[in-house]
Symmetry: C2
């Protein structure tokens, strides 16, 4: 069993981005990419994600700005802020950190974002371009997973890929990416979800299994084909007396037993998480280079 070391690959990608920015932008007096994050309310998880993104920007030499607003901000005002960022020529791309407070229609906010600055890849036009294999922004987590497979040179063509979980930001777009006619696509993909019957039987047929169900340690060794490649998208704080913080991070896999059957497996933490951030940076670089029309 080999670990798919997302932390290491993400660090490598960040070095590549930093070198690219230095050589092709800063040395030519072109300003560094500048990305913005809009953070509404004081959800601790959202704050931590945005802080992580800001840190990653600093590491690669990007400029970053965080726009913070109270949870009480009216939807109309948030739409105006999106318009402001759409028009601000100094901002190459931006994200609106989700979830948003209930009085705000998140979909309406997302659709207001200029697709050319939509580095999260959540705007319908970017989702459609992904399906049609046209240039656009790919959602960061599926993009990160495909990149991880690519960096480890894991063949996907003709493989049976099974994805557990059909969310709009992970499972569904990943099912599209892996079945498209592209280098790390061309798989035969089965997309499973809460209403799938015999999920264990289906998982056990997978050459490549991606688990994104959001249930800690729910995937067991009996669901895994010998020598499968297994990607764990879950990340959960599980209480633990053995940790000083009082919790440990666990994925959707029962890692100790599953990993023994895998040819490759992602750890949690240090697998998909860092790849998601690296992919967001790749999208930001693409936006700054105006590669998406």
């Amino acid at each position: 069993m080999k670990l798919l070391d997302g932390k290491m690959i993400a660090a490598q990608i960040k070095r590549e981005i930093a070198a690219d920015v230095a050589k092709n932008m800063l040395d030519k007096s072109i300003p560094a990419p500048h990305i913005a994050a809009v953070l509404v309310g004081d959800d601790p998880a959202s704050q931590s994600y945005v802080a992580g993104k800001e840190k990653a920007c600093r590491e690669v030499g990007f400029l970053s700005s965080i726009y913070r607003f109270p949870a009480s901000i009216p939807e109309s005002q948030l739409l105006e802020i999106v318009d402001f960022l759409n028009q601000d020529s100094e901002i190459d791309g931006f994200i609106v950190q989700l979830p948003l407070p209930k009085h705000i229609n998140a979909q309406k906010i997302i659709e207001q974002i200029n697709p050319q600055k939509d580095i999260d890849g959540f705007h319908p036009v970017n989702v459609g371009k992904m399906v049609l294999n046209l240039p656009g922004f790919l959602p960061a987590t599926p993009f990160g997973i495909v990149t991880l497979l690519d960096r480890y040179d894991i063949e996907t063509e003709g493989k049976n890929c099974v994805i557990l979980g059909r969310s709009n930001i992970v499972g569904t777009p990943l099912s599209i990416l892996l079945s498209r006619k592209t280098k790390r696509g061309n798989s035969t993909v089965t997309l499973c979800h809460s209403l799938t019957k015999n999920i264990s039987d289906i998982a056990r047929e997978a050459d490549i299994l991606v688990v994104a169900m959001g249930k800690p340690e729910s995937v067991t060794a009996d669901m895994i084909k010998q020598n499968a490649v297994v990607i764990d998208v879950g990340i959960h704080r599980v209480p633990s007396v053995e940790s000083k913080s009082g919790f440990v991070l666990k994925g959707d896999l029962k890692f100790d037993e599953v990993s023994k059957k895998c040819s490759y497996v992602t750890p949690v933490p240090g697998g998909v998480g860092p790849m998601t951030i690296a992919s967001l940076l790749l999208n930001a670089l693409k936006a700054a280079k105006k590669e998406v029309k």
Copy 2:
């Protein structure tokens, strides 16, 4: 074995549309929906499709206009025509019949269409909205297939659906529709294609099998699970001495042997084809009612 009689269901849908137009539009002095087709060149298949669509429009009381251009039309001029139709307030929706001559970038033409008039559902923003389960136009063939399942009250929830063929206009969008969290969705979908291994084994696991590979009579009885629901998207002219015209229409199924194992199966002709046209009319009605923003 029961036939999924697309011709009958399409006729029923057309009567419903005609009644809707009469009651909610004509009787209120609102003009009938008006759709346009842009036809470039003189491909016989394209001419026949467009003629079929025009006939269907007449049957339901829609107005229809056909804009014909020689194959030599420059791309820039076709883009202007699209703009003209985008702006023409009398046209509720339109299609540009594909394929287009090679000197024209079809994708560029499609992206020029105002998504609110894109009754083919091919514009990336409509494709993205389909993925995200937002109101938009669904591509006509997958929409027709789901409608056919619905009219026959065939349960899809929790069923294993296998789709053979991953085209942008049939297989891929249908895989999305059938796995979404909707009434005739919630299936466990496997999308197969030319690079899939063991395609017969996978097909044989299908409760619902959709065949859209474009190879006449290539799916045989050994690929079918007993009592499966089988949908045949193929339509091919096959030479025949028994027919006056010198050819007969065949689907992707070896119908005689496959149909014996099915609980439901679509005939060719008279299955998916008429449903595609009915779905285009449903999209046109939606466009005329300004239900898609």
